[in-house]
């Protein structure tokens, strides 16, 4: 995350952000290759298990804090580590236009 640019319209993901996937992103299981893919215009994203777990919780209702808390509990991991990781992941995706709020 660079954080340097704050163009109008750029989503800055924070703890209280309620992230969601825009309708044109399709999270699908790619059975042939045994992985998950996010399909976007002219792009295929291959999220790992952690990313898939995060993205499946991005429903536009839960906040980032709530998502991190839920994952911290599920994976018995420190919540601050998870939060930092989730913020980093979602900001990266938001900067590509793949996460909205």
């Amino acid at each position: 995350m660079t954080g340097a640019t704050t163009s109008p319209g750029r989503l800055i993901v924070a703890g209280e952000t309620r992230p969601k996937l825009p309708p044109y992103l399709k999270l699908r299981h790619d059975a042939g290759r045994g992985r998950w893919v996010l399909l976007a215009p002219e792009r295929v994203l291959t999220p790992d298990q952690t990313a898939v777990a995060v993205l499946q919780l991005c429903d536009g209702k839960r906040t980032v804090e709530e998502i991190a808390a839920k994952l911290a509990e599920e994976y018995s991991a420190p919540v601050d580590v998870i939060t930092a990781d989730v913020l980093d992941l979602l900001q990266g995706l938001a900067d590509k236009g793949y996460v909205k709020a």
């Binding site: 163009s7 790619d30 059975a31 290759r33 893919v37 792009r43 291959t46 236009g97």
Partner: protein, 410 residues
């Protein structure tokens, strides 16, 4: 092609045209993890009919006739086979894909096959109710070409009066219907001054993505190169402008850029490697490793009417001709970059050196490189020639003239 690859430790991104797959080597074992070897993207050129006549069209000079086009059922079968073999995205292109009256059925078949569908259209003949129907059938994304930002110049380039307003209307509908919109900007010397205004246009339309696609010199564009090729300085300026805008518009607009390679030092990894991640179906059902591959006369292309898509991908002579690195000559064969750029583009090697096994002359190591750069600079310095518009009459004329290959420097 984009250089974008990695976003974050948890999520890799690749552009559809050049994902390196597991590296098919022409295995005869059809049972071995076939899907893992399939391409990610497929370009379906549904027809070569088009209301526009752009002189840089990516279709071959020899345009396919309507009565040779695949039937509805044949296209639907192609979509089903594509989904089954593990292809993820299909680009419905042409010509103008909406010239097919059965586009609706083809989109439905793509949706049923689980394919992410992209409609690549000139948008001048697309009506609102038809677009609505396509969206209902599961169309995922629409890409609209704009020949220039200035209407008059755009309509001269495409030879279609009134095109701009129609395109703007369709772009608005796409956004209203909640679909992602890509603005496609084919860039050349006659509109390169407007790259910045293309970015403004894409923002104004609410596009999700902008494609600054410098014209690539194959087929029609090769024929019209002296009318199209920008100077080195113009090219660099346009690249700088896009790179600045990318940073400024992060998270707002995705800008993909295809750069011209005549001024490059290293060749592009064309199609991410021959037969590695991409296939193209012509209107008549021929399956090509790239849309310009028919310009290589020694190749024979199999047809979906005769063989399955998977069989063609895995075993056809055309796909295996330049797969991997065994076919390479020097200087590619001993080059440290041979697995990175795969020797560049076979079609460009063919067009400029008359041998598709030669190093792409865009590479500084090619003995033809100096001549190629000199040619580009000379043409760009002269006034633009008149367009040879893309239409069947000009196609017939163009096929009568032989192209002269370059002569390498000593």
């Amino acid at each position: 092609m984009t250089e974008e690859f990695k976003s974050n430790g948890h999520c890799e991104t690749v552009s559809v045209d050049d994902e390196p797959t597991a590296g098919v080597v022409g295995s005869k074992d059809m049972t071995a993890e076939l899907c893992a070897l399939a391409p990610i993207g497929m370009l379906a050129e549904l027809t070569h009919r088009c209301p526009l006549q752009c002189g840089y069209c990516s279709n071959p000079i020899e345009l396919e006739r309507v009565n040779n086009e695949l039937t509805t059922e044949e296209w639907c079968s192609v979509m089903r086979q594509a989904g089954e073999m593990g292809i993820l995205q299909v680009h419905l292109s042409g010509g103008e894909p909406t010239a097919r009256k059965d586009l609706e059925d083809i989109v439905s078949a793509a949706t049923e096959a689980g394919l992410y569908s992209n409609l690549i259209t000139a948008a001048v003949t697309l009506k609102r109710d038809r677009l609505e129907d396509l969206v209902k059938r599961g169309l995922d994304h629409v890409q609209i070409s704009f020949q220039d930002v200035d209407a008059e110049n755009a309509e001269r380039i495409g030879a279609y009066p009134g095109a701009t307003q129609k395109k703007l209307d369709v772009a608005r509908w796409v956004v209203e219907m909640g679909l992602p919109l890509t603005v496609n900007a084919p860039i050349h010397r006659q509109n390169i001054h407007n790259v910045g205004r293309y970015i403004d246009l894409a923002l104004k339309l609410g596009a999700q993505r902008l494609e600054i696609a410098h014209v690539q010199y194959y087929g029609w564009a090769f024929l019209n190169r002296a009318a199209l090729i920008p100077t080195y300085e113009q090219t660099i300026q346009s690249i700088d402008l896009v790179e600045n805008a990318r940073e400024r518009l992060k998270g707002v607009l995705t800008i993909d850029m295809v750069v011209p390679d005549y001024y490059a030092k290293r060749p592009k990894p064309c199609m991410g490697g021959w037969g590695k991640g991409f296939m193209n179906i012509t209107p008549a059902g021929k399956v090509l490793p790239c849309h310009a591959a028919e310009s290589i006369p020694e190749l024979h292309f199999d047809n979906v009417r005769d063989r399955t898509l998977l069989d063609i991908w895995m075993n056809s002579d055309a796909f295996n001709a330049f797969r991997g690195t065994d076919w390479m000559k020097e200087p590619c064969r001993s080059c440290a970059f041979k697995e990175i750029d795969f020797g560049g583009c076979r079609c460009q090697a063919m067009a400029m050196t008359a041998d598709p096994r030669n190093t792409d002359p865009a590479c500084a190591l090619s003995p033809y490189h100096g001549e190629m750069v000199a040619l580009a600079k000379t043409e760009a310095a002269k006034p633009a020639t008149a367009f040879v518009y893309r239409n069947p009459r000009n196609a017939a004329d163009a096929m009568k003239t032989e192209q002269e290959p370059l002569v390498p420097a000593e």
